[in-house]
């Protein structure tokens, strides 16, 4: 299968959500490029009974409702980019993003549960939804908070021409 074909294939074939499926889902709220603050982006397109993201959010920015199979929706107006939902999501399906952190650099904060961890200032290889290398990024912060229960949140800056494409980083070689 050619690379370009794989990117069009659906979630139930490749394992990763395709951009078409994401854009068709109510969950996906990529913050517009002129938004100043970080905001949560959820990539959870299936109806499964699950709502810790809604429960974790301190401002009520995430809505699922009484039927907990409802797909979560982020209200960007209420989201403060606190990252509580990033660690709370059992599916590791949420990250924070901002288009302009500094000039030409975007910002992403994503969940990461591997060892070894990089250090602040390290260069890391960032990947897309299929795990393919996209570009290098710079580690801003490696957050390991007790309330996040062993889910590290990686804060990384990267060239904003890859704003939408980057979702995570390659695991580092084993220590």
């Amino acid at each position: 299968m050619k690379d370009v074909d794989i990117y069009d294939q659906p979630l139930k074939v490749t394992g990763a959500v395709s951009m078409v499926e994401l854009h068709n889902s109510p969950c996906y709220t990529l913050p517009p490029t002129d938004r100043r603050a970080l905001a949560a982006v959820i990539e959870c397109v299936e109806e499964i009974p699950c709502n810790p993201c809604e429960t974790a959010c301190p401002t009520g920015a995430i809505t699922i409702g009484k039927d907990i199979t409802t797909i979560p929706v982020v209200d960007l107006a209420k989201c403060t980019g606190c990252s509580l939902c990033v660690a709370a999501c059992p599916g590791m399906a949420i990250y924070l993003k901002k288009y302009e952190f500094v000039e030409n650099e975007a910002y992403i904060a994503f969940p990461f549960e591997y060892l070894p961890l990089p250090k602040d200032g390290d260069t890391v290889r960032l990947v897309d939804r299929l795990g393919n290398y996209v570009c290098d990024g710079t580690v801003l912060r490696v957050v390991q908070a007790k309330r996040n229960d062993r889910t590290t949140v990686m804060h990384v800056s990267y060239p904003n021409e890859y704003y939408e494409r980057v979702v995570s980083m390659e695991r580092l070689s084993k220590a």
Partner: protein
């Protein structure tokens, strides 16, 4: 190659353990006290635990929880011991089992 998971993002670092001395196919080795025999052997890179009766095919673990009996070895002279659910003890003698083993009257370790 070490198969031991020394540090883990959720389980944390491997804790220190009291060690015991066991003998495997004549060779003495150190093992973490109370660990399952199969885990000790996998950690040291052992490929197989026994060989079958007729064609001597190698066998290792399969179910890992004491149900399938693929992992059986001779322990302290008693054959057909499920190593995935049997813990090591100091002085234990473990041998690769070739073919059938027979339990004699009085064998109590199952």
């Amino acid at each position: 190659m070490s198969y031991r998971i020394v540090d883990h993002p959720v389980l944390g670092p491997l804790e220190e353990s009291e060690m015991v001395t066991i003998t495997v196919d004549g060779k003495k080795m150190q093992a973490r006290k109370g660990e399952m025999i199969a885990a000790v052997l996998l950690a040291s890179g052992t490929s197989y635990f026994r060989k079958t009766v007729k064609v001597h095919e190698p066998r290792g673990i399969y179910c890992g929880i004491g149900r399938c009996t693929d992992c059986t070895m001779i322990v302290n002279g008693i054959p057909n011991i499920r190593t995935c659910i049997t813990a090591v003890e100091d002085g234990m003698v473990i041998e690769t089992q070739i073919g059938y083993g027979e339990w004699k009257k009085g064998d109590t370790h199952a």
